[in-house]
């Protein structure tokens, strides 16, 4: 209970509906994402969890037929107000995708790209510092410090994904969205990313979409279960996986329907 009181809502979704043309993908999503915590979104394919994730940094805006109603507040500010600068928003809300997607550039330039276009670094020294700090935070520095000029695409899958995380954090976001970040990785690389997620939560608020129930149980403090575009249940991860309130949640996580 005490823990609950200390929690601060970083993101508040209020009655979010999403339509792709005539098809409604999300129905009245109300939820809160707490600061410096990992929130996992789970549910069968097509349930709307990734669609919801993409609402948090307005990535759905790039889809012409997509229409969104409702509000998402970040630090009590509605990001769907008409005058919101989405570039600034995405600076604040970074994203990591399912498949590692480093730029076809050097490891150094992969990290430096964001800070340079956002004008974050004043000079080369500062940029060097940002690159080093970002790679350290992403637990990749020791593995790449001697080959920063080599192409990012030459790294292993797990290293590429950590490079993408380093790239996301290089512009000092407050929230990191991860869309199935480990689904293309082997168990060791997955474990490293999970360890990284755990260490990153002290500095960032993290929302992760995952198909792995055990991953959600391992990395998150809260879990939301989506089904057919609706948020069925949201609660403490331990509660969800030990004794969920909703029968549908239980049926899904125990493998009784999918």
């Amino acid at each position: 209970m005490e823990l609950e009181n200390k929690r601060e809502a970083k993101v508040i979704s209020k009655n979010i509906d999403v339509f792709y043309g005539d098809k409604q993908a999300l129905f009245g999503i109300d939820l809160e994402i707490y600061k410096n915590e990992v929130t996992a979104l789970i549910g069968p394919s097509g349930c709307g969890k990734s669609t919801f994730l993409r609402c948090i940094n307005r990535m759905n805006d790039v889809i012409d037929i997509c229409k969104i109603t409702g509000e998402i507040e970040i630090d009590n500010f509605n990001i769907y107000k008409p005058d919101v600068d989405v570039v600034r928003l995405r600076e604040k809300v970074g994203m990591v995708f399912q498949k590692p997607n480093p730029f076809p550039k050097s490891i150094y330039d992969n990290i430096a790209y964001g800070p340079s276009i956002h004008g974050i670094a004043k000079d080369k020294n500062e940029m060097d510092q940002i690159v080093e700090t970002s790679l350290q935070k992403a637990a990749l520095w020791n593995e790449v410090k001697d080959r920063l000029n080599e192409p990012g695409t030459g790294l292993s899958g797990g290293q590429q994904q950590r490079l993408c995380i380093a790239r996301a954090i290089s512009i000092n976001p407050e929230i990191i969205l991860m869309d199935e970040p480990c689904s293309a990785l082997d168990p060791i690389a997955t474990a490293k990313i999970e360890e990284l997620i755990d260490s990153l939560k002290s500095s960032f608020t993290i929302v992760i979409v995952t198909h792995s129930m055990s991953q959600a149980a391992r990395v998150s403090q809260r879990t939301g279960f989506f089904h057919l575009g609706k948020l069925i249940e949201m609660g403490e991860t331990e509660k969800i996986f030990k004794n969920p309130n909703n029968t549908m949640t239980q049926d899904y996580i125990t493998g009784r329907f999918g």
Binding site: M213, F241, K242, N243, T249, Q250, T254, R256
Partner: protein, 220 residues
Amino acid sequence: MSDEHIVKSYDEELQHLNDSLVQMGSLTEKLLHDSMNAITTVDKDAVSKIVESDAKINKFRSSIDQHIMTILVKRSPVAIDLRYAISTLKISQDLERIGDLAKGNAKKILPLPDDLPPEMLKRIESLGEMVQTQLKSTLDCFIEKSVQKSLDTIKRDEQVNDLATASIKEVLEFLSKDKKNLDFATNLLFVCKNLERAGDHLSRICQNVHYLIEGDYPEK
């Protein structure tokens, strides 16, 4: 909740676990009955059979342990399935302990002294019957997955405790009258205490059935 998993073999594994535990329970029922019978009829010949039955119960316990380990490894169960695995693990431990206590009692058979007050033996018989009834309703709780039955059974353990305390008091009085009955009375004290402990194990089983169904333990 849907009854069936998408993976049918998972259902079969859980069903097998359920069946094993029920079988173990009915063996324990028989063992407890035979043990009480052997004590009150001073049937020493029954002891070897009781020891054999207890060994069988122990085997069930280790086979259930292995089966649960396999389920944990293969299925990474969560929610109701996880609670099912954890609860059955604990329930099988308690059943095994009840088997041990019943066997321990049977091993303490001594001829009934001539001056044994018949009502004292009657009371211990009643205590044994009460524990057997508790065991039956505990197994019903598990089979029916009944929260209410588990709560009722836990509540009735107070009666077992009261009767055990009264029986112990009576045995001590009997002992204090004539020290020649020391061995017999001491054994009888163990029998009473073991039956009371068996009752405690049954309460624990019911608490675990409650946990299995509700996800929490009943309030004390």
